[in-house]
Symmetry: C2
Subunit: 200 residues, 2 copies
């Protein structure tokens, strides 16, 4: 029986994960040092390693937590709902995740950029399975004439690309937009884009 974590454990583990998210999402696994995480978390390096056995373990914990929630918006896409509203809702939920959890988005992006060594399996099994399932729903909608005929896989890719872009390329977006806030304009743009793309 594992003992329940003390208050100190909860606080420090949370601080480490948040610090790790900060640093890993910016520099990737190999570009991140334990000292960086320790300093960001406000702990000494040996103290870090009292809570997590290794750099790998921190990274793994973050990835696991991420994968748990990352696909929720897609899972929520409901085959019995209104097609256009469902897809639109998915895109907007995903955009909200970019706005509210940009570090998570960048952590994921970094992992994929590096060839996804730690999650390739999951991509090929769980992710592919989920996407294929939802793509079939979208295909059925298209076949029934409820939405326009488009490739459902590329439709899903387009939602990923368009929404994550605002988190992953944040610096570039802000450099180009100056001081204008990105997300309101993005929401309007996406709404209009998918409205026109999906209308049969």
């Amino acid at each position: 029986m594992t003992k329940p974590p003390t208050r100190i454990q909860q606080r420090n583990r949370a601080a480490i994960l948040s610090a790790g998210l900060d640093v890993f999402s910016q520099f990737g696994f190999r570009g991140t040092t334990l000292d960086q995480i320790a300093e960001t978390a406000g702990l000494s390096k040996p103290n870090l390693l009292y809570y997590f056995p290794s750099k790998e373990a921190i990274h793994a914990a973050l990835l696991e937590r991420l994968l748990d929630t990352w696909l929720d918006p897609l899972k929520a896409l409901d085959g019995s709902g209104d097609p256009i509203a469902e897809i639109m809702g998915y895109a907007q939920r995903k955009l909200a995740m970019s706005r509210d959890f940009p570090r998570e988005s960048r952590l994921f992006a970094n992992e994929i950029l590096q060839g996804a060594p730690r999650i390739e399996r999951i991509l090929q099994s769980d992710l592919k399975e989920l996407v294929d399932e939802k793509a079939a729903i979208i295909q059925a909608w298209a076949d029934a004439g409820k939405i326009a005929k488009i490739d459902p896989h590329h439709l899903i890719f387009s939602i990923w690309a368009l929404t994550q872009h605002y988190a992953d390329f944040d610096v570039q977006v802000r450099a180009v937009l100056g001081d204008k806030a990105p997300y309101d304009g993005a929401a309007v743009f996406l709404e209009s884009l998918y409205e026109k793309l999906l209308r049969p």
Copy 2:
């Protein structure tokens, strides 16, 4: 007067830049080691440093070469051409760059993800200027009723996001698509998407 490079110099500098592109584009600046580059280039580490004075210098040379060509497709967008064909052409050129130069795309993505420390200035000056100029052209087309009324900046972002996604998230795309080739489907999808989005 600087001496012309010998054949050996040309060959080795090219090998180093190609190796650096391989490694930097995968692991980012901090995640990359000189030994990795040296091994990929088939040279010893001191020999590497005979051709480039430092890791920084290799990275800087790559970024400079990249920025030179990266914006060419957008520069080619012609205000006096046919609006829809021009934008469509830009999207397809950009998609071709993702297909033909995925390492360059990932090098850029890595740099932006890390906060663009080495190119933020350029983004804020040159890139913003270019984008604003082309956005004005697109805005004029919209005002004249030649294309639909959409936010030109977000339109440009959408082209970046949709095309670079296939290079930067290559692993994920292939995991989901299985063995189907991504780029033909992507080209068709983009064509249809922008056709519908832009038609007034």
